[in-house]
Amino acid sequence: MTDLADTTAVGAHPGAATHDHTHVTATGISNEKVAMWAFLGSECLLFGGLISTFLLYKDRAADGPVPHELYDIAFTSISSFVLLMSSLTMVLAVSAISRGDDRALRAWLLVTALLGSIFISGQVYEFKEFLNEGLGFTTSPAGSAFFTLTGFHGVHVTIGIVMLISAALLSRSGRITQRNAEAVEIVGLYWHFVDVVWILIFTVVYLIK
C-alpha cells in the first residue's frame, strides 16, 4: 500500500520523482519499513511461543517415538544450508534492483524462490518419513508440537515464495522498478526473518538433544 506520506511529501509527484525515497516521515524511514520491522518483532513472540511449546513437550512422546530419535541431521543440515543460501540470493536481488538491473532482479528472485521450494520439498519429505516411523501430528504432545512448529515455519516460507514470485511478476509488468526498489527490500526482510527463525529451529530443535 502506498503510504499517506505521498500526500505530504515534497516532490512525490509521479512525474517529478527521481527515486522513491523522498517520502518525508518524522523518522526519515519509510512507513513500510517501520511497519515490516514492527511486524517481525511481533513474530518473535509467536515463534517464541511455539518453540517453547516444543521444548516443553519434546520428550513427551506417549507410546510413539521421540522426535529426536528420528532426526536425519545430515539431511536437515543440507536443507538448512539451502535456506541459508537463499538469503544470499535474496540480498543479491535487492542489490540488483538498487542498481536498476531488472533482469538480474527477476533472476535472483526466482532463484531464491527455487531454493525456498527445495527447502519446503525437503520438509515434506521429512514429514513423510516421520509419519512412516510412527510419529504423526496426533500421536503425542511431542508430535503435535514438532509438526506445529516446523509446519508454521513452512507456511511462512511458502508465503514468502508466493511473495517472491509475485514480486518477479510485478517487476516484469513494470510495476516494480528502481524507483520502488524498497518493495523488494521489504519482501527480503520477511524472507531473511524466515531464515533466521530456521537458524534458531535448526539449533534448538535439531542439534541440541
Binding site: 502506498t2 503510504d3 509527484h13 513500510e32 511481533s42
Partner: protein, 665 residues
C-alpha cells in the same frame, strides 16, 4: 494475512499511467452507506469502531443483567447451570475484546492522528481492514448464540476444560476462532498505529511534545504488538487440539495444561494494561483542561506509562498463584506485582497534583474523569491485595476478584471512555451532549456502579465463589447479592440516560441550528485547532509544533511579570476547514472484501473445509486487488469537494502543485 500487501506495495511513484486492475470500479462516493463501507478515513473508522463497540456493549450488558438476575435470590431459576456458564463467559469475552478494546481503538483512531498533526494514519487501507476484521471476529464470536451456544469455560477458557471432552459443543471453537480473527485486527492496527506515531508527526512534534493520550496509545499499541501473538500461538494450539486432534492439552498423553495458563496470562496481563491505558490517556487530556493547568509532571506521566507497559510483562503468574507454579515463582511474581503498583500510583498522584490549586470546573467530562481516578484507585488497592500470595489464595475464584476487576475495568476503563465521549463529542459530531443530563447520568452511574460491585468485595471475602450459577439460602449471601442486582438496574438506567442524551442533544442541535466552535472547552491539544466536526482533510495546513500543548501556547503566553495572558483570540488560531488542494487517500473496497473472507475460513474449520477454500480465495483475491490498486486513486479529483469531481485526471500536475505550496505554515 496482511503480509503480502506491505512488502509488495507499489510506490505510487510510477503508478499513474497504469490503470488499477480491479474487479470493482474505484469507489468515489462521499455520502451514503457505500462511502462508509469503503472509507479509509481514520475519523470515520474511529466512529465505526465506537458504534460497533456500543452495539456489543448492549449485548454484553444484557448478558450481565441475566447473570445478576439469576443471582438476585438464592436458588435462581432463570438460567440453567450450562447456560449460566455460557452467559458469563460471553459477557467477559464481549466486554473485554469487543467493547473496551475497540473503544480504545475508536479513540486512538480518531484522535491520535489529529493530536500529532497528521492527515491520516500511515496505512489508511490497513486501518479500514483492522476495523472490518475486528467486526468479522466479533460476529463469529457472537454467532455462537445462534449456532448451538457460546463458549462456557470463562473468558480464559483454561485447559483441559477447553478440550472437546469437557466442552463438546462448538462454543469454544467460535470463541477461539472469533478471537483469532479479532487478534489479526489488533495486530494490523498495532503495526499501523505504531508506524503512524513514529512517522507521521507534524514538523517539530518530537516524542516528548506529544499529548499524553498519544503516548498512551503508543504504549498500548506496543503491548498489542507483542502480546497478541502470544495469544495467537496459544489459540492455534487450542484450535489444533479441538479441531484436528492434536495433543497439546491432553493430560492423558502427558501434556501440561499449565502451558495454556501461562500463554494465556502472558497475553492476559499486558491485555489488562491494553484495556486501561487508553482511558489513562483520556483523563490525562481532560483533567488539565478543566483544571486550567498543564498536566503535572508530564515526563513522569509518560515514563510511568512506559514503565507500566514494561512491567506488565513480568507479573502474569500472579493470576496463577493457586495453580501450583511453585513457591519460587509465587514469591518472584508476588514481588513484581507489588512493584507495578508504583508507576500506577505515580499517575494517580499526578492527576491529583494537576487538579491541586487549579481553577476546577465540574463539567461532565471532568466528573467522569474524577470518577475514574477514585474508582480506579479503589480497584488498584484491592489489586495490591492480590499481590500477597497468601491473601490471593483465599481470594482466588471468589467474588472479591470480580469486584476488583470491575472496579478497574468499569470504574477505571468505562468511566474514562464516557469522559472521552462527553469531552470529544462536539469535535466528532458537531454538537454538544447535554450538560445537565450528563451530570445526572454520572451520579446515577456512580451510585449504580458502587452498589453493584462494592458488595462483591464482601461476598468474595465471605467465600462466595465466582462462576457458580447459584447459591443456597442461609449462606449469608442473600442481602448483598440482591443489592448488587439492584445496582445493575441503576447502571442500566444511567446508560439509557446516556443514549437518550445523544438523541435529545442531537435533536436540539438540529432544531435550534446550534453549531459548536472549534474549541468549546478552551483546550490544549491540536485536535481542537480544526473546526467541529473535523473536516475530512483534518488540517488545512499542517501545523509546525514548538511546544507540548501547542494549541494552548498559540492562545496564551506570559506578560513581562510572568502572568498568564491571552496572546491570540481562539478564532484567529483555529483553522478554517478549507481543504482545497489537499489530496486524500482514496476509498477502497478491498479491506471489507478481505475481512469478508475470514469468517468463512472460521466456519470452514468448524464445519466443512470447503468453506475455507472459498474464504481463502476471497482473502487472496483481496490481497492481490489491494496490491494492484494504488492507495490514492490517480483518477480522483485532486481536492475533496465532490462537486469538482469531473476534473480531468491529466490536470493532476497542476493540482499537485497547489497542494505542495500549502504544506507547512
Amino acid at each position: 494475512m496482511s503480509l503480502a500487501d506491505g512488502p509488495l506495495a507499489l510506490g505510487s511513484g510510477g503508478e499513474l499511467t497504469t490503470r488499477p486492475m480491479g474487479v470493482f470500479a474505484r469507489p468515489g462516493e462521499a455520502k451514503g452507506w457505500r462511502s462508509w463501507v469503503t472509507t479509509v478515513d481514520h475519523k470515520r473508522i474511529g466512529i465505526m469502531y465506537g458504534a460497533a463497540a456500543l452495539v456489543f456493549f448492549v449485548i454484553g450488558g444484557i448478558e450481565a443483567m441475566l447473570i445478576r438476575l439469576q443471582l438476585a435470590t438464592p436458588d435462581g431459576k432463570l438460567l440453567s447451570a450450562d447456560l449460566y456458564n455460557q452467559v458469563y463467559t460471553m459477557h467477559g469475552t464481549t466486554m473485554i475484546f469487543l467493547v473496551i478494546m475497540p473503544l480504545g481503538a475508536a479513540f486512538m483512531n480518531y484522535l491520535m492522528p489529529l493530536q500529532i498533526g497528521a492527515r491520516d494514519v500511515a496505512f489508511p487501507r490497513l486501518n479500514a481492514l483492522s476495523f472490518w476484521v475486528f467486526l468479522a471476529g466479533g460476529l463469529v464470536l457472537n454467532s455462537a448464540w445462534l449456532l448451538g451456544g457460546g463458549a462456557d469455560g470463562g473468558w480464559f477458557n483454561y485447559a483441559p476444560n477447553n478440550g472437546v471432552r469437557f466442552s463438546p459443543t462448538h462454543g469454544i471453537d467460535f470463541w477461539n476462532l472469533g478471537l483469532l480473527i479479532a487478534g489479526i485486527a489488533s495486530l494490523v492496527g498495532a503495526v499501523n498505529l505504531i508506524t503512524t506515531v513514529l512517522n507521521m508527526r507534524a514538523p517539530g512534534m518530537t516524542l516528548m511534545k506529544m499529548p499524553v493520550f498519544t503516548w498512551m496509545s503508543l504504549v498500548v499499541q506496543f503491548l498489542l504488538l507483542f502480546a497478541v501473538p502470544v495469544l495467537t500461538a496459544a489459540q492455534f494450539l487450542l484450535m489444533f487440539d479441538r479441531l484436528f486432534d492434536a495433543q497439546f492439552f491432553n493430560t492423558q498423553m502427558g501434556a501440561d495444561p499449565l502451558l495454556w495458563e501461562h500463554l494465556f496470562w502472558i497475553f492476559g496481563h499486558p491485555e489488562v494494561y491494553i484495556l486501561i491505558l487508553p482511558t489513562f490517556g483520556i483523563v490525562s487530556e481532560v483533567i488539565p483542561v478543566f483544571a486550567r493547568k498543564p498536566i503535572f509532571g508530564y515526563p513522569f506521566m509518560v515514563f510511568s506509562g512506559i514503565a507500566i507497559g514494561f512491567m506488565g510483562w513480568g507479573v502474569w503468574a500472579h493470576h496463577m498463584f493457586a495453580s501450583g507454579v511453585g513457591p519460587i515463582s509465587v514469591a518472584a511474581f508476588s514481588i513484581s506485582t507489588m512493584f507495578i503498583a508504583v508507576p500506577t500510583g505515580v499517575k494517580v498522584l499526578n492527576w491529583m497534583a494537576t487538579m491541586w490549586g487549579g481553577k476546577l470546573t465540574f463539567d461532565a467530562p471532568m466528573l467522569y474523569s474524577i470518577g475514574l481516578v477514585t474508582m480506579f484507585t479503589i480497584g488498584g488497592l484491592s489489586g495490591v491485595t492480590h499481590a500477597l500470595a497468601p491473601a490471593d489464595t483465599q481470594q482466588t475464584d471468589t467474588y472479591y476478584i470480580v469486584a476488583h476487576f470491575h472496579y478497574v475495568m468499569f470504574g477505571g476503563g468505562l468511566n474514562g471512555f464516557i469522559a472521552g465521549w462527553y469531552f470529544w463529542w462536539p469535535k466528532v459530531f458537531g454538537y454538544r451532549l447535554g450538560e445537565r443530563l450528563g451530570k445526572i447520568n454520572f451520579w446515577i452511574l456512580l451510585v449504580g456502579f458502587n452498589l453493584t460491585f462494592g458488595p462483591m468485595h464482601i461476598l468474595g471475602l465471605q467465600g462466595m465463589p465466582r462462576r457458580t450459577y447459584t447459591y443456597r439460602d442461609g449462606y449469608g449471601f442473600n442481602f448483598w447479592n440482591f443489592v448488587s442486582t439492584v445496582g445493575t438496574f441503576i447502571i442500566a438506567t444511567s446508560m439509557l440516560i446516556f443514549f437518550a442524551n445523544i438523541f435529545l442533544s442531537y435533536r436540539k442541535a438540529k432544531k435550534e441550528q446550534l453549531s459548536v466552535p472549534a474549541d468549546p472547552w478552551d483546550a490544549r491539544s491540536l485536535e481542537w485547532m480544526v473546526p467541529s466536526p473535523t473536516p475530512a482533510h483534518n488540517f488545512d495546513v499542517i501545523p509546525t509544533v514548538s511546544h507540548l500543548d501547542e494549541f494552548w501556547h498559540r492562545k496564551y503566553g506570559e506578560d513581562e511579570e510572568g502572568r498568564l495572558v491571552r496572546i491570540a483570540a481562539t478564532e484567529d488560531v483555529v483553522q478554517k476547514g478549507d481543504g482545497r488542494g489537499v489530496h486524500l487517500p482514496s476509498p477502497s473496497y478491498w479491506p471489507i472484501v478481505m475481512a469478508f473472507g475470514m469468517p468463512w475460513i472460521a466456519y470452514g474449520l468448524i464445519y466443512n473445509l470447503w468453506f475455507c477454500v472459498l474464504g481463502g480465495i476471497c482473502v487472496v483475491a483481496a490481497i492481490y486487488g489491494w496490491i494492484m490498486e494504488p492507495a490514492t486513486d490517480p483518477d480522483a479529483g485532486h481536492d475533496d469537494h465532490p462537486a469538482d469531481h469531473d476534473e480531468p485526471s491529466d490536470a493532476s500536475g497542476e493540482a499537485v502543485a497547489t497542494e505542495e505550496a500549502a504544506l507547512v505554515d
